[in-house]
Amino acid sequence: MENRPLEYDYTVTKMFMFMTIVLGIVGMLIGVILAFQLAYPGVNTILGEGLAEYTNFSRLRPLHTDSVAFGFTLSGIFAAWFYIGQRVLKVSMAESKFLMFIGKLMFWLYAVGVVAIVVSLFMGITTSKEYAEFEWPIDIAIVIIWVLFGISIFGLIGIRREKSLYISVWYFIAGFLGVAMLYLFNNMEVPTYFASGGVGSIMHSVSMYSGTNDALVQWWYGHNAVAFVFTVPIVAMIYYFLPKESGQAIYSYKLSLLSFWGLMFVYLWAGGHHLIYSTVPDWVQTMGSIFSVILILPSWGSAINMLLTMKGEWQQVASSPLIKFMVLGSTFYMFSTLEGPIQAIKSVNAIAHFTDWIVGHVHDGTLGWVGFMIMAALYHMAPRVFKRELYSKSLMATQFWIQTLGVVLYFTSMWIAGITQGMMWRAHDEFGNLAYSFIDTVTVLHPYYTIRAVGGLLYLVGFIMFAYNIYKTMSARPVEEYELQNASPMGA
């Protein structure tokens, strides 16, 4: 038998990269349809009245949020873990048949889970809890997939050659543990068919918590889904990919450790800001507000650390579109983690709550930070897993500017729409009568909804360019190992 040198094995990474792209297109396409539905209600029945059940806003909305958060983002995180995990622990998946089997099993179960989720949500089977819409049989499947993810993480750590765990690994572990805890507690539910002795649908369940308690657990979960899906694993990615692509050591490794523990402690307490001016105890609301403001420190700690990593090397931002994605991603992270705490301040929240400003905030985080970072990660990984140069640098740069314009149009329109909405809802005359009816706000907001839809469309167009670039990379010029040390090789 030929004695081949040991290499990293990217089989599972490739599978999840493929899934990231497919679910990204699906999730963002649905998002764009939703945005046009809000601007032009006729789009709700675009396939005719007969199919309106499947094309209306309320049926599609959870499909959008779940496919971008738990489809596109999680697949990107999994792809990145199976890539970064091997490299910073200096151990190959090829060294463990068991871990390779677990990785593949995880992927195929995940794929089955995706199909089950898409079908059930299209059929209208939902718990109606935001970002936790999946009914109990799917929840059980998700727990199994998550346990497999845990085995992959700790299994790889168990056979590592590098004694210390790189900061990204700490973030991946935190992401794994955080989601495990949050998901289990928020999805405690009673299947009504079994509890009632055979009445109703077998798929239906009710939450084990009721009323205000249910809301509290839901938003402890909901906000921390942002923490442990949209933040923690994405920070793990930038801590690896930016230094590696730029060839620069992290500006301050000590700051990365400090920010990690700060983020871990503070984030879990901030969820109460979703329930300001609701029926939860006042001190919980205050705590949510204060911890949200404190959250600026660890978030900016990581983001500034990344920007300072480029110290003395800023010409790379100009010359490499891949670095541009990461530096702008980090900047959007700073922007979003400043905007969020501002919205969590009680007096600001009185205007912002329930308005489009919140939607704008979520999207400058997800499009500008999460989306940019995941695409950058795939751009960095693609030449290394396919052993080929990136197909087109100019296509990547064009995509960057189209998507940046899309994000800017998205959040600026939602700022204006949200604040206008909040002010109009509160406006009253000297007798306390409301100055505007709901439809008055709809009329005023219409242009901004159209701008938002165009912004979203631009982002989707950019994403399709990204998918095409990666697809063409698979058959681009083969590269030698030495070309892959730092800056990714790119065709014109």
Binding site: E7, Y8, R87, V91, E162, K163, K244, K254, L257, L258
Partner: protein, 67 residues
């Protein structure tokens, strides 16, 4: 003293303790500069930069076991 006041004092107290822990950790990191094994924290950045499977680990697990 009402339960609400107790909560408020407890909350402020917890904040003070946590601020001390957090600043204490920062002080520890920046004055010691090195971890328990005597390695400068900043050297760990190399785990990402020198991550080929043939690269020498920053702190090899096998060396640690020998000790």
């Amino acid at each position: 003293m009402s339960i609400a006041e107790l909560q408020a004092y407890g909350y402020v107290g917890a904040m003070v303790v946590l601020v001390f822990i957090s600043y204490g950790y920062a002080y520890h990191l920046y004055t010691k500069k090195k971890d328990a094994s005597g390695k400068d924290y900043e050297e760990y950045s190399n785990m990402a930069l020198r991550d080929d499977i043939t690269d020498t680990p920053v702190s090899a697990r096998s060396e640690h076991k020998k000790k």
